[in-house]
């Protein structure tokens, strides 16, 4: 009999020495990254309602701390592999808001000039090695990137982000075994936001913690953390990076979090029990980290300055995207093959 997962936010030792030693600069980066994601995702939602973001989009509102914690703890050269819910991880690696919104709005200034769309954000120069829209596909791909690092004696780590729903697909299990057997420098990060798409993950999973409770099957440590506390995430991530770089193999980390919006634009999230969203909003990552900054002596004007600067950047990006032309049609025919074109015959 499967146990129902706890629907309440995970309580963590807030500011309780978890990340006291990282210094103000990193702490401000963690906050700035989270606020950037929040503002950009909220803007994406607003643009959607104006029919300026087309197709679909999967927001990370409420899940900002996972992206920020892992990205800020990375070194240059580390690689991110994301899902269709990948805007947050892309922004967290330093990709500009304009390029992300431009892609969502299908403009020529988008990250892939409209050839990929919201679900496939990629910025190789920032180490964002693609966003994958087939559940589970990118876990083995991240293993391959890690295999290259191991084979060539390079020191980078591949990090693969995915949702709770991914833990029930075959590629998840294949990748974990593969990575564990070969001790690959790869980190699997499950963002457990309690719902796969519309169905609670607990209704369809044999264990309470869909990722962590499977770790033992692959000889890995069971790790569940508060994914809404960026300090906890950062500290957990840093330990996993160290382990990977030391040749000790993969980690599987389950971050408990909650998405404030529906699965995608089409989903009003009516399936949630009353009060659940409100409880989680009390445990909102931005709220938590704002308080954290104050505990560490950051003054209100400094915090407000970060917030207004982020808002200015997102506003400016929005205006640039609105003014940008649609993609040039000649790129329809480029980059099917490595010769730059699409010819399949002579």
């Amino acid at each position: 009999m499967a146990r129902k997962p706890s629907r309440a936010p995970v309580s963590s030792a807030r500011g309780d020495g978890v990340n006291d030693d990282i210094g103000e600069e990193l702490r401000l980066r963690l906050y700035q990254t989270q606020v950037t994601i929040r503002e950009a995702e909220q803007r994406a939602y607003d643009l959607f309602l104006q029919n300026l973001v087309k197709g679909t989009s999967h927001l990370s509102l409420g899940q900002e701390a996972v992206a920020a914690g892992f990205a800020v703890a990375m070194k240059p050269g580390d690689l991110s592999f994301c899902t269709y819910r990948g805007h947050a991880h892309t922004l967290a690696r330093g990709v500009s808001v304009e390029k992300v919104l431009g892609e969502l709005m299908q403009r020529s200034n988008g990250l892939m000039r409209g050839k990929g769309g919201s679900m496939h954000l990629t910025s190789a120069e920032h180490g964002v090695m693609g966003s994958y829209a087939i559940i589970g596909a990118h876990l083995p791909i991240a293993c391959g990137a890690a295999l290259r690092a191991q084979y060539k004696g390079q020191n980078d780590v591949s990090v693969c982000f995915f949702g709770d729903g991914t833990t029930n697909i075959g590629a998840f299990h294949e990748a974990l075994n593969f990575a564990a057997v070969w001790k690959l420098p790869v980190i699997f990060v499950c963002e457990n936001n309690l719902y796969m798409e519309y169905t609670p993950i607990g209704d369809v999973t044999a264990v309470e913690h869909p990722a962590a409770d499977r770790a033992a099957a692959y000889g890995l440590e069971r790790i569940v953390v508060d994914g809404n506390d960026a300090d906890v995430v950062y500290r957990t991530a840093a330990a996993a990076y160290d382990r990977a770089r030391a040749g000790k193999g993969p980690s599987l980390i389950e971050c408990m979090t909650y998405r404030h919006s529906g699965h995608s634009r089409a989903d009003p999230a009516k399936y949630r029990p009353e009060g659940e969203l409100e409880r989680w909003k009390q445990h909102d990552p931005i709220k938590i980290y704002r308080e954290r900054l104050k505990q560490f002596g950051v003054q209100e004007p400094a915090i407000a300055a970060i917030e207004s600067e982020v808002k200015r950047v997102v506003d400016a990006a929005t205006e640039k995207c609105k003014a940008a032309p649609p993609p040039p049609l000649d790129i329809l025919w480029t980059d099917v093959y490595a010769d730059g074109g699409w010819a399949w015959r002579n």
Binding site: I141, K152, V336
Partner: protein, 326 residues
């Protein structure tokens, strides 16, 4: 010049490329210590060591996904899928991931890898270990698709595939592994996207691939000897890129065309070729194009049944004879 089996040519082709380029690595199920279930990779582990030649778990998604991740970050992996039928359990990589990452990323990502697989019937393995699925790969934009019919082509096309910057699906034919052929000494590198006229003739063109090439050649000899019909046989070799110039050029000379396909009838590669010929060489034709295929049924295991359903030398001979005398 040495006489090699098609089987040994696989190992030679892989070894040639691994010796040349340290970024070439090779992995798959039972390929290292066991030398492959078809003994196509014997000696590679000993020659190149366990870092470069690796046995994997039975995890086809992990095999292909890892090949892709390694390829996009700088290696040139060769991955083996033991039987091409198993593409069905890892088709996401073949259909959605390898061929689309470059395009979706607006050219930021690359995917230079080779998937080798044992394709085709004749081993009495039944419906899930005997299929010819090269048409599954052919239909996907972004892939390249190759199927050699001789030991020399195995070495040369495998080398071309490994050196190619795109994902290449490399179909080896199980029933050709024991066949022998002359292979020149030294490095061999062929060109993808080139068909080869393996027999010249003036009365009809037979387009064939892999195991169907030697059968088409046997049929051509019989047609010549018994019926005075002189067939040109074209080994298509590469479905993508497709050498339409060689194919259309042959049809322009012979004015009749036959395809010999091992895949089941619907949407077999011959349908695409016939469509191109009908579009672009209609007025060269003196009669309707004819497809000789496996019927649209799953493959049976028993030898007497399997032998009937694959295109045979008898069936090719008879079909061509009847069509030309009609």
């Amino acid at each position: 010049m040495a006489e090699l089996t098609y089987r040994d040519a696989v190992a030679r082709g892989i070894a040639q490329e691994m010796a040349r380029d340290p970024d070439v690595i090779f992995f798959g199920e039972d390929i290292a210590k066991a030398g492959g279930v078809f003994k196509t990779t014997v000696g590679l582990l000993e020659q190149f060591g366990p870092k470069r030649v690796r046995d994997t778990p039975i995890s086809e998604q992990a095999i292909l996904g890892a090949a892709m991740g390694a390829a996009m970050t700088g290696l040139k992996p060769i991955a083996e899928i033991m039987f091409s039928d198993f593409f069905a359990v890892c088709f996401d990589y073949i259909a959605n991931e390898f061929p689309k990452s470059r395009y979706m990323s607006d050219g930021q990502l690359k995917c230079p890898l080779v998937v080798r697989t044992a394709n085709g019937a004749g081993s009495r393995f039944g419906a899930q270990h005997s299929q010819s699925v090269e048409n599954w790969a052919m239909m996907i934009p972004g892939l390249k698709v190759v199927a050699p019919s001789s030991p020399r082509d195995v070495v040369g096309l495998l080398a071309a595939a490994v050196r190619d910057p795109d994902p290449v699906i490399f179909f080896e034919h199980k029933s050709l592994y024991a066949t022998k052929g002359e292979v020149p000494d030294g490095e061999i590198v062929d060109t993808l996207g080139t068909a080869r006229i393996v027999r010249s003739g003036k009365d009809a063109t037979i387009l064939a691939l892999a195991l169907m090439v030697p059968r088409a050649l046997d049929a051509a000899e019989r047609l010549q000897a018994q019926h005075g019909i002189d067939c040109e046989v074209v080994d298509v070799r590469s479905l993508v890129p497709l050498d339409t110039q060689t194919i259309l050029g042959s049809v322009a000379r012979t004015h009749r065309v036959f395809t010999v396909e091992e895949n089941p009838r619907l949407c077999g590669w011959g349908a695409e070729l016939v469509s191109i010929i009908a579009d672009e060489a209609f007025y060269d034709l003196d009669g309707p194009p004819v497809r000789i295929t496996t019927p649209h049924i799953p493959l049976p295991a028993a030898d007497v049944m399997e032998d009937i359903v694959l295109p045979t030398v008898d069936r090719i001979t008879e079909t061509v004879r009847r069509s030309l005398s009609a």
